[in-house]
C-alpha cells in the first residue's frame, strides 16, 4: 500500500458528534499532506464511505449509531489504517488486538494526536498490516471471553446487513468465506467457520459438520442418511449433513 509520490493521504473522520469531528479537523489542518475526503456521523455511513473512497486512514469513534467502531473495522477490513478515538479507556486492549494503529482518548491532546498520526503514516507508507488475517477473525479473537455475539454485521460492497444471531438458521463454510443463512437469504462474509464458531453461544449453536454450524432451535429432526451418516432437517425443510463427530455432539446435547 505504498503511496505514489505527491499523492496526499486520504483520511475519513467518523464520529457522531459534530464537535468531536471538528477537533480532528482542526488538528489535521496543520498537515498539508493529509486530505480529509469525508466525514461520517454513523457506522453505516462509515462502511459505505470507506468502501467507495478507499481512504488510507480512518479516525473512528467507538460508540456510534447503527454500528459501533469495532463492527465498522470488522467490515472495512485491513484496507485502511484505523485510529480509534473515544472517551472510554476500557476498549484499548481490544483495539490493538484488531490491529488499530492507535487509540486516542477524548479530550485529545495535540501531542498524542501527532504521535498517533506519525504511526499511521508509517503504516500507510509501506509497512502494511502484516499477517493480514481477515478483520472479522481479528475481531472474533479480540472479543471478550464468555461474551457471545448477538448480531453479525455483513458487508456486500458498500451495503451493510445486520444478521441478528437469533435469526441465523445455519452457517456454511465456503473456502475463506462463510455463508450465513437467515430468513431465506444467504449473506457471505470473509471469515472462517472456526472463527465464527468462537463468537456464537455454544448453548445455541452447534458445529454439526466440518462445514456447518446450525442454530439448534431450527433443527426439526435428525434422520439417518446412507450407511452410517445423518442429516439434520431444519424447520424450513433444509437438509444439512451431519458428520460422525457432529452426530456425537448432537447426541450429547440432546441427552443433556
Amino acid at each position: 500500500m505504498s503511496q505514489p509520490a505527491g499523492r496526499k493521504i486520504q483520511a475519513v473522520i467518523v464520529d457522531d458528534e459534530e464537535l468531536a469531528r471538528q477537533v480532528l479537523r482542526e488538528f489535521l489542518s496543520a498537515h498539508a499532506e493529509i486530505e480529509i475526503t469525508a466525514e461520517c456521523a454513523n457506522g453505516f455511513e462509515a462502511v459505505k464511505t470507506v468502501a467507495e473512497r478507499k481512504p488510507d486512514l480512518v479516525f473512528l469513534d467507538i460508540q456510534m449509531p447503527k454500528l459501533d467502531g469495532f463492527e465498522v473495522l470488522e467490515l472495512i477490513g485491513n484496507e485502511a489504517a484505523v485510529i480509534f478515538v473515544t472517551a472510554y479507556d476500557n476498549y484499548a486492549i481490544r483495539a490493538f488486538e484488531v490491529h488499530a494503529v492507535d487509540y486516542l482518548l477524548k479530550p485529545i491532546s495535540v501531542e498524542r494526536f501527532e504521535a498517533a498520526l506519525a504511526r499511521a503514516k508509517e503504516r500507510v507508507g509501506g509497512k502494511t498490516n502484516a499477517g493480514a488475517l481477515p478483520a472479522a477473525e481479528l475481531a472474533a479473537a479480540a472479543r471478550p471471553p464468555q461474551q457471545y455475539a448477538d448480531r453479525i454485521p455483513v458487508r456486500d460492497g458498500a451495503k451493510v446487513f445486520i444478521v441478528p444471531v437469533a435469526k441465523l438458521d445455519y452457517a456454511e463454510a465456503q473456502d475463506d468465506y462463510v455463508a450465513l443463512a437467515s430468513e431465506g437469504k444467504k449473506h457471505l462474509k470473509q471469515q472462517t467457520i472456526a472463527s465464527l464458531e468462537t463468537i456464537l453461544d455454544p448453548t445455541r449453536f452447534l458445529r454439526i459438520h466440518r462445514s456447518y454450524i446450525v442454530n439448534l432451535e431450527r433443527v426439526a429432526r435428525i434422520e439417518p442418511y446412507g450407511k452410517d451418516s445423518h442429516v439434520a432437517v431444519l424447520a424450513n425443510g433444509t437438509q444439512l449433513p451431519v458428520s460422525r463427530a457432529g452426530y456425537a455432539r448432537l447426541r450429547a446435547y440432546l441427552d443433556r
Binding site: 457522531d16 458528534e17 459534530e18 464537535l19 468531536a20 471538528q22 477537533v23 482542526e26 456521523a41 454513523n42 457506522g43 460508540q63 456510534m64 449509531p65 447503527k66 454500528l67 459501533d68 463492527e71 472517551a87 472510554y88 476500557n90 482518548l105 477524548k106 479530550p107 485529545i108 448477538d150 448480531r151 445486520i162 441478528p164
Partner: protein, 356 residues
C-alpha cells in the same frame, strides 16, 4: 449495674411482688399452731421486707458465675454458700425480732414459741433465695439475647450503610471527558460557546457536589440538576435531544435519593438518543398517587443498535439503590415497546427533610 436497685419503678414492682410472698410466709408460720395468726402476720411482714432486700444480693453471685461458662460444682457451691449465708442472716433477724416483740405484754413468750418454727424458716429462706437466683439467671439470659439481637441489628444497619456507600451517587466520568472534548473543539471555532459550555458544565458539577453524602433531596433539586445536565448534552448533540417534562407541582417537594433520575436520563441519551441518527426525545413524568411518587423516564431508542458493554450498569445501580433504601416499598420496572424504552419507578412520597 443491679437491674432492680438502679430503677425506682422496678424496685417498687419488686417489693409489690413480695406482698403475696409475705402472705404465704404468714400462712406457713401460723399453720403449725405454735403462734397465733396475729403474731404470724406481725412477724412475716417485716421479715419479708428484710428478705426482699437480702435476696437482691443474689444478683452479684449470679453475675460473676455465668451459667453457661461455669462448672456445675462452682455453681452449686457458690449459690449454696450464699443461700445459706442469706438464710442465716434472715433467721438471726427473725430471732431478734421475736425477742424484741416478746418484751411487750401482748406478745409475751413469742421468742420461745417461735423457736419451733426455725426449720420451716430455714427451708423457706433457702428456697426463696434459690428462686431469686433462678430469676436473675433468666434476667441475665434475656439481656444477653437482647444484646445479641441488637448486635445483629447493628451489623445489618452497618452492612446496608456500606452498601449505600458503594452505590453512592456518582457522575459518569465519560460524560465529563466527552464534554471537555467538545469544549476543546469550541475554543478555536466559537470561543463564546466554549465559555458558555464551561459555565454550564461548572453549574452542573456544582449541583452534584456533596450529593453523595446526602440521603435525599427534593425532586425539584434533582430536576434542576437534570436540566443542567441536559443543557451541556444539548451542546454536544445539538438538536438531537428533546426533553418533555410532565411533573405534578405537588411532586416537586417529595424527597428522592440524589442522582436517582440523572443516570436514567444519561442512559436515555447514551443508549437511546446517541444511537439515533435523527435524534429522539426523553419524557419525564412524576405524579403523586396514594402516598407514592410514581416516576416514568421514557425515551426513543434503536432496537437494532449495537449492544454496549456498560448497558444495564446504570439501571442496575438505580434499582439496587432503591432496594437498599426502601426495600419492598419501592418498585422498579423496565419495559421496551417498539422503539420506546421506559423505566418506571414508584417510591414512598416522603416530604419532610431527613437528617443528612
Amino acid at each position: 449495674m443491679h437491674p432492680i436497685l438502679t430503677q425506682l419503678r422496678r424496685l417498687a414492682l419488686y417489693l409489690l411482688a413480695w406482698i403475696p410472698i409475705a402472705g404465704l410466709l404468714a400462712y406457713l408460720l401460723a399453720m403449725p399452731g405454735a403462734i397465733t395468726w396475729r403474731e404470724s402476720l406481725v412477724m412475716a411482714a417485716p421479715l419479708s421486707l428484710v428478705y426482699a432486700f437480702l435476696c437482691l444480693s443474689a444478683w452479684y453471685p449470679c453475675r460473676v458465675t455465668p451459667i453457661e461458662r461455669s462448672s456445675f460444682s462452682r455453681l452449686f457451691s457458690t449459690h449454696l454458700a450464699t443461700a445459706l449465708l442469706a438464710t442465716g442472716l434472715w433467721v438471726l433477724a427473725a430471732r431478734m425480732l421475736a425477742l424484741e416483740l416478746s418484751q411487750s405484754a401482748s406478745y409475751r413468750g413469742l421468742d420461745k414459741r417461735f423457736s419451733t418454727e426455725m426449720p420451716l424458716l430455714v427451708g423457706t429462706g433457702v428456697l426463696l433465695y434459690l428462686l431469686s437466683i433462678a430469676f436473675y439467671y433468666v434476667l441475665l439470659t434475656l439481656e444477653a439475647s437482647r444484646e445479641a439481637e441488637a448486635r445483629v441489628m447493628k451489623a445489618s444497619v452497618l452492612a446496608r450503610e456500606a452498601e449505600l456507600r458503594a452505590l453512592k451517587a456518582q457522575v459518569n466520568p465519560h460524560f465529563l471527558f466527552n464534554s471537555l472534548n467538545s469544549i476543546s473543539a469550541l475554543t478555536s471555532s466559537d470561543a463564546a460557546k466554549a465559555r458558555e459550555m464551561c459555565i454550564l458544565l461548572g453549574d452542573f458539577l456544582r449541583r452534584t457536589l456533596g450529593l453523595g453524602e446526602k440521603t435525599a433531596i427534593p425532586l425539584e433539586e434533582e430536576m434542576s440538576l437534570i436540566r443542567a445536565f441536559l443543557s451541556v448534552e444539548k451542546i454536544r448533540f445539538g438538536p438531537r435531544i428533546k426533553l418533555e417534562e410532565n411533573i405534578d407541582q405537588e411532586a416537586m417537594d417529595v424527597q428522592v435519593p440524589p442522582l436517582l433520575l440523572q443516570p436514567l436520563v444519561e442512559n436515555a441519551i447514551v443508549h437511546g438518543i446517541a444511537n439515533l441518527i435523527e435524534g429522539g426525545w426523553i419524557r419525564l413524568d412524576a405524579q403523586c398517587k396514594n402516598g407514592d411518587l410514581a416516576i416514568v423516564v421514557e425515551n426513543t431508542y434503536d432496537p437494532e443498535a449495537p449492544a454496549r458493554r456498560r448497558n444495564g450498569v446504570g439501571l442496575k445501580n438505580v434499582r439496587q439503590r432503591l432496594e437498599a433504601r426502601f426495600g419492598n416499598r419501592a418498585t422498579f420496572g423496565v419495559k421496551t415497546e417498539g422503539d420506546h424504552f421506559r423505566v418506571s419507578i414508584t417510591l414512598p412520597a416522603e416530604r419532610e427533610a431527613r437528617a443528612t
